[in-house]
Amino acid sequence: MSTNIVLCGVGGQGTVLASKLVASASMAKGFEIKSAETIGMAQKGGSVMSHLRIGKCHSPMIGSGEADLIIGFEPSETVRMLPFLKKGGAVITSDRAVMPVTAALKGSSYKGSDMTDFLKGYPGIGKLVIVDTESAVREIGSPKAMNMVLLGAASRAGLLGEITHEDIIEAMKRKVKPQFVEMNIKALEFASI
């Protein structure tokens, strides 16, 4: 059996790095890891997702109704991934909407709050954490830090199982360029949410 996590967002938001850090932290604890992610053309402003499976399994991909946790970097992308969620599974999401160009062209009224309202009303979610990433990144001073804010919120809410803040920081030191480690730790430990 494996613990299954779906990380999702829009190309460029740092889902892949977040997935790698959890994977690296899990491996350091002796777990088997498999993961799959979107790379290539789909990255350019498109929906991006990463499947992460901790424990024994055959496929790097998660099937419908198998995810224990969804970490969403953009509210509509979080909703898009809901079919993967196990009944009673956990969802942690940013509330900051990213408007696609096509929607802007058509003068669309797409709002992040419609998505977070849907999540609040969806009965299949066992635990829901909505993170005000807008003010978090403003305070930290870099939009690139959003992935760490979400990971921090996930581990604080006890949603990463045996993986602790310290495990993620250790993984960060292995995977992130030294000059960015401090900013990322600040984001991970951003607590006023």
């Binding site: 829009v10 190309g11 460029g12 790698k20 994977a23 690296s24 491996m27 088997e32 890891i33 498999k34 993961s35 799959a36 992610e37 979107t38 790379i39 290539g40 053309m41 789909a42 990255q43 350019k44 402003g45 498109g46 929906s47 399994c57 055959h58 496929s59 790097p60 991909m61 998660i62 099937g63 419908s64 109704g65 198998e66 509509s76 909703v79 898009r80 809901l82 079919p83 990213v98 408007m99 696609p100 160009v101 096509t102 929607a103 802007a104 062209l105 003068g107 669309s108 797409y110 419609d114 998505m115 849907f118 969806y122 299949g124 990144v137 939009p143």
Partner: protein, 600 residues
């Protein structure tokens, strides 16, 4: 042995290094690119690594080294194999001395490719043995074995992972450096009866190849990666690659699960093993991506041996004809095959925004397309596109790509269109890497045959789409040297293109007048739009919209469709997390409301 967390492509690279590979060449292409990049990164200097100008060149370099006893690998994506197929078809007749692996990544979906071609089918056509791994761990071990088979039988072999194997990560057991195979090449030994292809040699070797493949079919039946996972059921599933992993996930949860035949060498097909499997089942479901290769082979085995078995798959409509076999697809196939009702999801999602891929905020290609569009407004035109990020210039509102076929095709397509309707202004857009890979011949064709056209080279100083690889125009090599770059201007002038304009596309006014100037000149002309990929440098300060000046005409969004311009509370604002300060939108705003200094 020790464990590392590796991407499938990194595992393949490390396997090749452990097998003692001496030379690696290739051309970037998703999902294959990271194999060569990884080898270059971990190279201690003992392996020669190059990005070749295209796949044909890469394969020929690897062949020459393999003639010399080196272990070699050439990497590419499936459509790259089309470019390399000329030398490869002949190479199979000539053979090699050192082990040679042709690593071709297939892309079911397709996720980022032009075609859904199946390299397993190409294997049967070209008669090359083919290896099809199902996981990162298997890919690591299998590529080492692929080198051994190649050397033992004196033939290049195909190694074809698919996207979900290439780009999956896993904890992989890898060899320690002390366990690596060391291959010391003997060098090329002259023997024209062996290395020069002539009809007589081809005839003799053709028969030998057919016999060798029969022998390999028999040997592959006992190759441990082709396996039967038995059960007491009279139902069987034959599968491969990532579909095998997904099948195992599904059947693990079932009682009375079907037997499984896993095919790791689709060509030559392990017939004896298939016969053994068929004797234990009445009905087989073939779960395959791309072509029904296993399904056809099983039908052939049944026909040859007079077996009355039901073979299901793509021919019988049980498996979809295109696209990937994702986890839910496979679960659906298996449940339906077993007469079970598949678990259904009852969730109804609200309307979600669609996110087609677009050119990045600040991408210079957007400015180049816009300049040509503006300059040619109201004229009869054809905009032939090509393969790269700039294919995305087709999206609204730019709508500047009328055709896209394959690498380097645009320059010749534009000529063809012009031949039929000579008053059309014909443009071909090509990136710098694609220019070197396969557009130079098209430019020569146009000059020689006196075509009327404008070749637009979008020079962003990199191979952007596949992740910023160097190319001849950058002068950087994968061995860490910086040589003198091959100059696009000099190449064009050298082949007879007399007018070659250079302009920065972000200087919109000059860009538009350059296009107007050359478009009406006779013959083949070129414009080189020079501006580096927006991902290559630190972004400038973002722009902002002055709400007092903005009249909500939305011209900025309607004209260029930059993802950095969004609508918030009914007004256009700049998404500062995306804007890189290129300033193109500020040149479009009719009321001068977008700028760097203005405060929101």
């Amino acid at each position: 042995m020790h464990k590392e967390f590796l991407m499938g492509n990194e595992a393949i690279a490390m396997g090749a290094v452990a097998a003692g590979v001496n030379l690696v060449s290739g051309y970037p292409g998703t999902p294959s690119t990271e194999v060569l990049e990884t080898i270059a990164r971990i190279n201690d200097g003992s392996i020669y690594v190059e990005w070749s100008v295209n796949e044909k060149a890469g394969l020929e370099v690897a062949a020459g080294a393999a003639y010399s006893g080196a272990r070699t690998m050439v990497t590419m994506k499936q459509v790259g194999l089309n470019v390399a197929s000329d030398p490869l078809m002949s190479l199979e007749y000539v053979g090699i001395k050192g082990g040679m692996v042709v690593m071709v990544a297939d892309d079911p979906g397709p996720i980022s490719s032009q075609t859904e071609q199946d390299t397993r089918t190409f294997a049967a056509f070209s008669k090359l043995p083919c290896f099809d791994p199902s996981s990162a761990q298997e890919a690591y071990e299998m590529i080492i074995e692929a080198f051994e088979y190649s050397e033992k039988y004196g033939t290049p072999v195909l190694f074809r992972p698919t996207t979900r194997v290439c780009h999956a990560y896993a904890s992989v057991s890898v060899k320690d450096e002390s366990e690596y195979h060391i291959n010391i090449p003997s060098g090329f030994e002259k023997d024209s009866s062996r290395w020069v292809i002539f009809p007589k040699l081809s005839n003799a070797n053709h028969a030998k190849i057919e016999l060798r493949n029969r022998e390999l079919s028999s040997e592959f039946s006992s190759y441990s990666r082709n396996e039967i996972i038995p059960s007491s059921s009279r139902l069987g599933i034959a599968t491969h690659g990532i579909s095998f992993a997904n099948t195992m996930e599904t059947i693990e949860t079932l009682s009375n699960r079907p037997s499984v035949l896993k095919i790791a060498t689709p060509f030559p097909f392990p017939e004896d093993l298939a016969l053994e499997f068929l004797s234990s089942v009445d009905e087989v479901l073939c779960i395959e991506e791309l072509d029904p290769v296993i399904e056809k082979a099983l039908l052939e085995v049944c026909g040859k041996h007079g077996l009355k078995k039901t073979i299901r798959g793509k021919f019988t409509g049980d498996i979809k004809l295109s696209g990937e076999n994702l986890r839910d697809d496979v679960t659906g196939y298996v449940y339906s095959f077993m007469g079970l009702e598949a678990p259904a999801s009852d969730i109804e999602l609200p309307e979600l925004p669609v996110r087609p891929p677009v050119l990045c905020a600040g991408c210079p290609h957007r400015a180049s397309f816009y300049a040509v569009k503006k300059a040619m407004k109201g004229r009869e035109t054809i905009f032939a596109g090509d393969i790269g990020c700039y294919t995305l210039g087709n999206a609204m509102p730019l709508d500047m790509v009328d055709t896209c076929l394959c690498m380097g095709a645009g320059v010749n397509i534009a000529q063809g269109v012009g031949r039929i309707k000579p008053d059309t202004k014909c443009f071909a857009f090509v990136g710098d890497s694609t220019f070197f890979a396969s557009a130079v011949t098209g430019a020569i064709n146009g000059v020689y045959n006196q075509a009327d056209m404008t070749l637009v080279v979008l020079d962003n100083s990199t191979t952007a789409m596949t992740g910023h690889q160097p190319h001849p125009g950058t002068g950087k090599t994968m061995m860490g040297e910086v040589n003198s770059a091959v100059d696009i201007d000099a190449v064009l002038k050298g082949v007879g293109v007399e007018t070659v304009e250079h302009v920065d596309p972000l200087d919109l006014e000059n860009a538009v007048s350059a296009v107007k100037k050359v478009a009406d000149m006779p013959g083949v002309k070129a414009i080189i739009f020079e501006s580096p990929c927006a991902m290559l440098f630190k972004p400038e300060k973002p722009y902002s919209v002055n709400a007092d000046k903005c009249v909500d005409c939305r011209m900025c969004i309607k004209e260029i469709g930059c993802p950095g311009l969004v609508i918030s509370d009914g007004h256009v604002v700049v998404d500062t997390s995306l804007c890189n300060g290129c300033g193109l939108c500020s040149k479009i705003c009719p009321v001068d409301a977008i700028g760097k200094e203005v405060q929101v």
